[in-house]
């Protein structure tokens, strides 16, 4: 998958299996990734687990789990909020004060998109299902996000992917016709469709030009454009362009000055005319 770290690094990683994105005193987020197409090292996310840790008056522990075709609007214990009730709320129906409690889940699109707000942490966490895979985005205060960053252990959001797990997107985007990158399937460029109802259906990874044309329809820029093209060229599945679009939209909505951090670049990485 594609990773944007708290430090603003954009990376594309293999990271098959279970990996921690965040793991500090307040919050733990882990993902499970599975291979997208046979023979390729590229993976996508099929499960996300979020633990908002307890340990204070403000934060009873809450665990959230999402999997493909199961993006619930509640924590695993069935609750939709947690934390002390606001003063004077005794006797009121819970709907009257849910928006005032420290931890709560907001369903944005049933079964497809939820937001988890942890007001006591100043945190917003977004879980989506786009196509057959999940996406995650988080906004955190920097001092919460980087708390414990110096200690041992993996936190992809903090430290990025290990070097051995990284995929050079530039090589893939520029490598069409110049040999095969390890992220590409080994047996030609025909892959199983992730959206097809027929499990045996095979689709062809898009050409560079076709991928660029589709990704441009979503007004993607900079690394989001690159990631979109990478996904379409490796899988041929157009739903990945929507995933990139949603990720870019979350980026813009979560960070007030996000637009200033991205280059206004609508050509893929390294392509002629990229300036």
């Amino acid at each position: 998958p594609h990773l944007v770290t708290f430090n603003g690094d954009f990376q594309t990683c293999k990271v098959a299996g279970a990996w921690p994105l965040i793991d500090n005193a307040y919050l733990a987020v882990s993902v499970t990734n599975e291979a997208v197409v046979p023979g390729s090292s590229a993976t996508a996310t099929t499960k996300i687990t979020i633990i908002i840790k307890g340990g204070s008056d403000c934060a009873p522990e809450r665990t959230y789990e999402a999997a493909v075709d199961s993006v619930p609007a509640s924590f695993v214990d069935g609750s939709q909020w947690g934390g002390p009730l606001p003063p004077g709320s005794s006797g009121l129906p819970s709907s009257a004060f849910e928006h005032l409690v420290p931890v709560r889940i907001v369903e944005k699109e049933p079964g497809r998109h939820v937001e988890i707000h942890a007001r006591h942490l100043g945190a917003t966490l977004i879980v989506r299902q786009v196509g057959r895979y999940l996406t995650f985005a988080a906004k955190l205060p920097r001092e919460i996000a980087l708390q414990g960053a110096g200690r041992e252990g993996l936190q992809l959001c903090v430290k990025g992917c290990p070097a051995s797990e990284r995929i050079d997107v530039g090589t893939v985007l520029l490598g069409s016709g110049h040999g095969r990158h390890p992220s590409m399937p080994s047996s030609g460029r025909f892959y199983r469709s992730q959206t097809s109802e027929s499990p045996s259906a095979l689709v062809k990874g898009m050409t560079r030009d076709a991928a660029l044309a589709l990704c441009r329809e979503y007004n993607l820029t900079d690394y989001y454009l690159d990631s979109c093209m990478f996904d379409l060229m490796t899988t041929g599945d157009p739903s990945f362009s929507l995933a990139a679009s949603r990720a870019q939209a979350d980026y813009f909505s979560l960070l007030p000055d996000a637009a200033n951090r991205l280059a206004n670049r609508t050509w893929p990485l390294g392509a002629s005319g990229s300036s």
Binding site: G82, P84, P87, P93, V101, P102, P141, C157, D231
Partner: protein, 119 residues
């Protein structure tokens, strides 16, 4: 002594939200019950119903494993960044009913972002 008033508030909150005993939501309501009882402690000296109720709430706390009910803030090693605006005169022995922490993050406003998507 307003022990009956606290009990009524607790019963109303429990019925309104339909929580099960032992759930996290029950712990929240129980905590408010406990705070209410403590706020009326001084006027309830020697009041049998008050002391019985205190004991009952403590038992429910234990039975439901409500470790944070009435607990100190910042327990468990988590820094209390979000408790900075907790009232300075907070007294665990006789807090007011509405003397709860704001539970709104009070740290520096600089925010950052992480995202994970695609293949």
């Amino acid at each position: 002594c307003k022990v009956d008033s606290c009990t009524r508030q607790f019963q109303q909150a429990a019925m309104a939200s339909g929580v099960r005993r032992g759930s996290a939501a029950f712990c929240v309501i129980l905590r408010q019950y406990s705070d209410c009882l403590r706020s009326t402690a001084r006027s309830c000296r020697g009041h049998l119903a008050y002391h019985s109720t205190i004991t009952l709430v403590q038992n429910w706390n234990g039975d439901s494993n409500c470790s944070y009910v009435g607990g100190a803030s910042g327990a468990g090693g988590a820094p209390a960044i979000f408790n900075k605006d907790r009232p300075r005169n907070h007294d665990h022995h006789s807090p007011k009913v509405d003397d709860s922490p704001s539970c709104t993050y009070q740290g520096r406003p600089e925010v950052t972002h992480c995202s994970f998507y695609g293949d």
